[in-house]
């Protein structure tokens, strides 16, 4: 038989018992919808969780430090940096060293108007920062000696000496907070550190050292990269070395760096890179220890939701099998007639399988359309029903968290799965049909 004819016969058979076909399709449709919507809720949960985690810090950063009490061969030095270049999965890295002094202050403004009594000063490889995933809220990366980056909220460390004591500092935490405990609308600080030069004043046993610095950029706060991104100063490692020589009077420390920060190419490689660093003898730290269990939990929830949906699709599969068996027992004589007129067994099998598959396909397609609409409605309800929310409800975005997320693969999967359920549940009835002998045509009732 020609493929076109098989298709025509299949459609004819589906339309001759319209209400039965409709009900069977309805079953598949409900099953498909419940899978898609359940999984989309799971994905929505996961997406919201990822957003929360990403706000806590960069998930692909590993901080490498020397093992505790380890004074042996495992050192954080330039030899390690050379070895890191050879590890696959590492996108960038920077050594870190913080300035250890007893007292440090920053002075800025005309006539020493703005003074910060304390700050952390960290040396990094400023050339690697962009690749490391440091985001600048303003300005540029340092290019010249003594150009520095400041943390996003360094300005709040300064007091305005022209104002009375007790009212000369701004509390960054005075405003409102969002769900993640971050200030939404911090009051504006007294001055902008990027507006002019600053002087760093350090007290040492050998006297006071002053260093003029030029802030050229502000770094977005990211705790996974260290607290200096919030209220500290980052300068080039070479500048820091010079500064340390002055403060320590030539004494050298045993280790070259405090820590090394490694940026891994993708989130999936964090675990393996971290393991490799550990086997090299280093202590490591990353968001992985938080992310893993959260991800595991999210996956379990997704599986549970998807499983609930799948149950209803399996029930629908029973419906298809039932419908097919019914229709075959009604058509026993017809099948006998077809066989006696020379219809191939394979064609009969294809006829019934395609009928079952078509029920799955139609149910899957309509189910996907309905679940898509349902998902948009759910999102609109949670975002607030208005026209400008329509697009974010469908596509999502940086600033919205959707309750229900339907990625294209989910729709594709649902359709393919429905068709397979159809074919699977048609398998047994089709075999039954194939075994009906041509003799059935001759039997008289």
């Amino acid at each position: 038989m020609k493929r076109k004819d098989l298709l025509r016969v299949c459609l004819q058979n589906l339309t001759r018992r319209k209400s039965r076909t409709f009900l069977t399709v309805l079953g598949v449709l409900i099953g498909c919808c419940s899978i898609v919507i359940m999984v989309s809720l799971g994905i929505g949960m996961k997406e919201a969780q990822d957003k929360t985690l990403a706000e806590m810090g960069d998930l692909t950063i590993i901080t490498v430090s020397a093992p505790q009490g380890g004074r042996g061969k495992v050192k954080l030095d330039d030899a390690l940096l050379r070895r890191l270049k050879g590890i696959p999965g590492i996108a960038a890295f920077t050594p870190k060293r913080s300035l250890e002094v007893e007292s440090i202050s920053l002075v800025a403004g005309t006539g020493r108007r703005y003074i910060a009594d304390w700050t952390s000063v960290v040396g990094v490889d400023t050339g690697a920062l962009e690749q490391m995933g440091y985001h600048l809220t303003e300005g540029t990366l340092p290019k010249h000696d003594n150009e520095v980056l400041v943390g996003q909220y360094l300005a709040y460390s300064f007091k305005d000496t022209l104002r009375p004591e007790g009212h000369n500092m701004i509390d960054r935490w005075a405003g409102n907070f969002d769900d993640n405990g971050k200030p939404i609308d911090p009051p504006p600080p007294f001055f902008d550190p990027l507006k002019g030069p600053m002087t760093m004043e350090i007290e040492t046993q050998n006297g006071k050292i002053t260093l003029p610095i030029t802030p050229v950029g502000a770094v977005k706060e990211d705790y996974s990269k260290g607290s200096e991104t919030s209220e500290g100063i980052m300068l080039n490692m070479a500048d820091l070395r010079k500064l340390m020589e002055k403060t320590q009077g030539g004494r050298k420390k045993a280790t070259a760096y405090d820590s090394v920060m490694v940026k891994v190419k993708s989130i999936d490689q964090v675990e393996s890179v971290e393991r490799e660093l550990k086997t090299m003898g280093y202590a490591t730290e990353s968001m992985e220890s938080i992310r893993r269990p959260m991800e595991k939990e999210a996956r379990q929830k997704q599986l549970m939701l998807g499983g609930l949906g799948a149950i209803s699709l399996f029930v629908a599969a029973l419906g298809i099998t039932n419908t097919m068996i019914m229709s075959i027992s009604e058509r026993t004589r017809e099948i006998g007639v077809m066989k006696s007129l020379g219809c191939y067994v394979t064609d009969i099998r294809i006829m019934f399988l395609s009928e079952a598959g078509a029920i799955g396909l139609i149910g899957g397609l309509i189910g996907c359309v309905i679940s898509f609409v349902a998902s948009v409605v759910i999102n609109l309800v949670s975002l607030g029903p208005s026209v400008e929310h329509l697009l974010p409800a469908i596509l999502g975005g940086e600033e919205v968290t959707r309750v229900s997320v339907i990625p294209p693969w989910l729709l594709l999967f649902a359709i393919v799965f429905s068709v397979f359920i159809g074919l699977g549940s048609g398998y047994y009835p089709a075999n039954k049909a194939v075994r009906i002998p041509a003799l059935e045509a001759i039997k008289t009732e």
Binding site: K2, G342, C343, Y344, L439, A441
Partner: protein
Amino acid sequence: MNGSDPRSRPIIEVKDLRKEYPIGDETVVALKRINLNVSRGEICCIFGTSGSGKSTLLNQLAGMEKPTRGEVRIGGVPISRLSENQLAAFRQRHLGFVFQSYNLLPNLTATENVALPLMFRGVPKAQREAAARKLLTRVGLAHRLDHFPRQMSGGQQQRVGIARAFIARPDVVFADEPTGNLDSKTTVEIMNMICTFARDFHQTIILVTHDPEMAAYAHRIVTLIDGEIVRNEINQKERSPHEA
């Protein structure tokens, strides 16, 4: 084929055919030992009362069931030894059926029903339905081409059934009590039609019946009693198709 002219060889050859059915612990012998030859172009009537084994013989001849012993050859092909797929292909090319209860597919129109055997052979829709319409016109149903079986009378349905049996120009057409459900006037019409087709296309008809009236149309009358051929005779006073 033994070097002989295939035209002179019988189209149907039955050799030592035996068919048993197990019923419970006992075995019922439906056909004892049948030997039968039917020549090409012959109208052969298998005549017998119910339980005589005539239906079983038809099933054997048409390859619907496997024999217990012996074999059936149609055009030299041992159909009792063909696989299911070979049998389907053989039926498409060489066999046609007319059923007592017409057995038209209820959801197909008259044209589609007649075109069915050609569809199984993979003939394109336009071509096979043109052939079907032509044949339906010949059986006098030009005004019923797009009617469904339920919209037609028994006689009309059987005419569709005959058109379906002959559309693929088979070598042998099996007719199982083709007029069993029809009144006497229609019976004559139907029988004339079958005989005319058979003569025009030089086709062999195997007509199974319990009605002695029908046997009158045949060239050869084979009478079965209890699974045995008791008489195999050439019909001397054969009725011509146009006599009625």
